[in-house]
Amino acid sequence: MSSSWAAEAAAVFVKDWRCELRTRHAVATLALFALTTLLVASLVLGPIGNDAEMSRRVVPVLVWLIVLFAAAAGLPRAFVHEEESRTAIALRLAARPSAVFAGKLVHIATLVAAIEAIVAPLAVALFDLRVAAAAELVAALAAGGLAIAAATTLLAAIVAQGRGASTLFAVLALPVLLPALALAVAATRVALTGVAEGNLLTLLLLYDGSVVVAGFLLFPAIWNP
C-alpha cells in the first residue's frame, strides 16, 4: 500500500462529509429530530430553569436522551449505506480497516458535536437555564459525545451486516452506552449546578478511551468478512 495510514483515514473522513453535504441526510434527520423533541419538551415543561431543583433533575437527562436518540436515528447510516450501495467492498480494498474506523469515528464524532451545538444552546435558552460552569458543560458534552460516537461507529458496522439494522442498533447500543450516559448526565448536572460530585469527567474519559481502543482492536474482525 502506497498511501499512508493518516491519508487513508483522512480520505474516508472527507469522503463521508462530502456525501453528507450532497445528500444532507444525516444533518437533516438528526438536527430536525433533535429540534422537534426539544421544542416539544420546552412546550410541555416551560422555562423550568427558574425552578433550580426541577431543572437540575430533569434537564440533563432530557438533553442526553435527545442526543442519544438523534444519534440512533441517523448515525447507523454511516455503514448501512455502504453495505446497501455496495460501496463497502471498494472501501475494504481502498483503505486499511483501522483507517476506515478512524475516519468514520471522526466523521460521526463531528456529527454528534454538531447535534450538541444545536441542542445545548437551545436548551439553555428555551428552559431559561443558568449554567454555573460553562467550561465543564462543554467538557461534559464533548466527552459524552465521544462516547456515543465511538460506540456508534463500532455497532453501526455490526448491524449493517445484519437484518433490520435500525431497530437492532437501538437494542445493541443502549446497554453499551448506559454507563457513559449515566456519567454524562451526572457531569452535566454538575456543570449546571456547580456542585462537585467526584471525578465524573475522568471516568467518562476512561470510558471513551476503553471503547476507542476496543474499537481499533475489534473493528478489523467486524469489517473483514
Partner: protein
Amino acid sequence: MKRLLALSLWLWMAVVIWAAFHWAPLAAGFKGESSRILFFHVPVAWVSFVAFMTAGVESVLYLAGRRDPRHDRSAAAAVELGQVFAVLATVTGAIWARIMWGSYWNWDPRQSAIVVTMLYYAAYLALRQAIADGPSRARLSAAYAVLGLVVSPFLYFVLPRLGFSLHPEPVINAAGKLEVESRMLAVLTASSLGFTVLFYWLHALRRRLGAVAARRDEGVE
C-alpha cells in the same frame, strides 16, 4: 462414570439445601428467616457472572484463534444459561428486597446493574437472531460480546457509585474481609460450588447439542 458424577451432584445439592434451612444459623440484622435465601441468591448471581465471563473468554478465543465454530457455540450456550441464572438471581433478590426493604424493586445500583447486564445479553441473542447462521454471525456476535467485557467494569464499579446502595456488602468485599459466620460460609461455599458444577454440566450438554445440530446442518447441505 457420568452417572456417578450426576448422582453425586444431586446428593451434594440435596445436602446444601438441607444445610441452608436447618444447619446454618440466621444472620444478624436480617428479618426473620430471610437470610436463608442468601445461600441461593449469592451462588446463582455468582454463576451468572461465571457464565458471562465464560462467554467473553470464548468470544476472545474465537476472534484471536483460528475462528473455531466450537468457541462460538460455547459462547452462545454460556450466554443463554447466564440469562437463566441472572433471572434467578434477580427474582431471589427481589423476594428478599420485599422482606427487608418493603418493595420488590427499588432501582438499587445492583438491581440496575443486573438489569442492564440482562439487557446486554438479550441484545447479544437478538443480534444472533438477526444474522444468518455461519462465520459472519459468529464473528459479529463475538465482537459484541468482547465489547461487553470492556464496558462491564463501568457497569459494576462506576454505576453503583452514582447512587446510594442498600445492598449488603458483597461476600468478597473491597476490604477483602470475610464477615460471615463459619457455618454460613461453609454452606455458601458448598452451594456456590454445586451451582458452578451444575452450570458447567448444563453448558457441556448445550455445547454437545450445538455440535450435533451443526453436524446435521452440514449433512443437509
